[in-house]
Symmetry: C2
Subunit: 245 residues, 2 copies
């Protein structure tokens, strides 16, 4: 048996998310079917992050086992061949030790949230960014974001359906920068709560439009109630960029 | 009568190009229909550059006349409303003098060509970049590209169907740079021949993969025969970035 670690890029709009669901096609499923198509082995693919429907990945990491040993580059090429009909590709495949686990071995996850801040809707890259028409102050967003960096109880920023036992998480980095009419939000942590990044972005958007100040973000964090923080930013702007081991 | 200058962004894959054709839907047509829908005026929209099928625009410029005076921001918002079903948006609308002509007043056009240089196909941004699997040497491409800068007879780089009277053009800038696995080719000239940018890019690709050197590009240019230069790069990587007046 050989364990393979794969790095996966996907465009989230055509999927119900990473994880298999009853209501549609998941990235995990697409990859499992591609593996079966080339190897005739039925496997389960384990991903590092369970991205929601519509969320993209530039570098999702996953692992699976094959009974028949196959060169890693053959695995990559064969999977990409069978994945052709869907918006997912394998960027890299590597044999790893049996104790490697894409989810449990991960020590860091990096996300990017893209806002296109302009009046006109998007013609290019629809579904790849959140278009916000009202002008946003990226510097104010960055400043307020620093309130959330560090170890906190993020109850105000997690989905009410979130099943994690604890709402305590440590955000290592939360940077907001403007590049022309794009606002890029970079966030890193060991792990995240359900909707945590999108709820943070939705809250920072309120700061960007001047509706909220840094102090309001402090109060929202301290309140430990979901209703105390801002809106949930749409899935289409969110990218799982990389997973660290 | 008021003349309006508009700046247009579009994703080329759903269109037969800028200009009206018998075989499908053109960007020009989409805008003319949107104008008629909001103003009930039947107009002709004149564009600065007749982009081919599949070519994108970040800043195409066009003009048209309306009998009934309408605030420019209303024109923009109304057009964007009616353009919703298609991948084209109006970034800007401004009233201009009657002697402004989007095509004939233009003194410069800037294009960008995007290559994604990696083994794996694209999952995100399919149709927005040319994926080239063989590793390309961007520095060698940039060096060889300088052969084409300046005033030359570009017969070797124009489509055989090109109808321009003269093949002499002046390229003001032709820069090739690498940004991660992206290769960006920036090119500026007063005007271009049919397929000129795509034929230049296809030729530079040969240099990038080591099949050709700078000297071969010189010989191709001197030959003044289309067959002497490289392949035609696909439309999907090409963007009309801006038009200067």
């Amino acid at each position: 048996m050989t364990r393979y670690r794969i790095t996966v890029e996907y465009e989230g709009s055509g999927f119900v998310g990473w994880q298999r669901q009853d209501n549609g096609f998941a990235v995990q499923e697409a990859i499992e079917q591609a593996i079966e198509a080339f190897s005739s082995e039925k496997v389960t693919v384990f991903g590092a992050g369970r991205t929601d429907a519509g969320v993209h990945a530039l570098g999702q990491v996953a692992h699976f086992d094959l009974v028949r040993e196959t060169p890693a580059h053959t695995v990559r090429e064969a999977l990409n061949h069978y994945l052709r009909p869907v918006a997912a590709v394998i960027l890299d495949a590597t044999p790893v030790d049996d104790d490697f686990h894409a989810r449990f071995s991960a020590i860091g996850r990096r996300y990017l949230y893209r806002i296109t801040n302009r009046r006109s809707p998007l013609a290019i890259g629809r579904g790849l960014s959140w278009r916000v028409a009202v002008p946003l102050d990226a510097a104010a967003m960055h400043d307020a974001a620093q309130v959330l960096v560090g170890h906190h109880d993020f109850t105000s920023f997690r989905a009410t359906v979130c099943q994690a036992k604890s709402a305590e998480k440590t955000i290592d980095r939360l940077d907001v920068e403007r590049d022309g009419d794009e606002i890029l939000i970079h966030v890193e942590a060991r792990s995240f709560l359900h909707h945590q990044v999108r709820n943070i972005v939705g809250t920072l958007k309120w700061v960007g439009e001047g509706k909220w100040g840094r102090r309001d973000v402090e109060k929202a964090l301290a309140a430990r109630r979901r209703a105390a923080a801002g809106e949930t930013a749409p899935a289409e702007g969110l990218y799982l960029v990389a997973v660290r081991y």
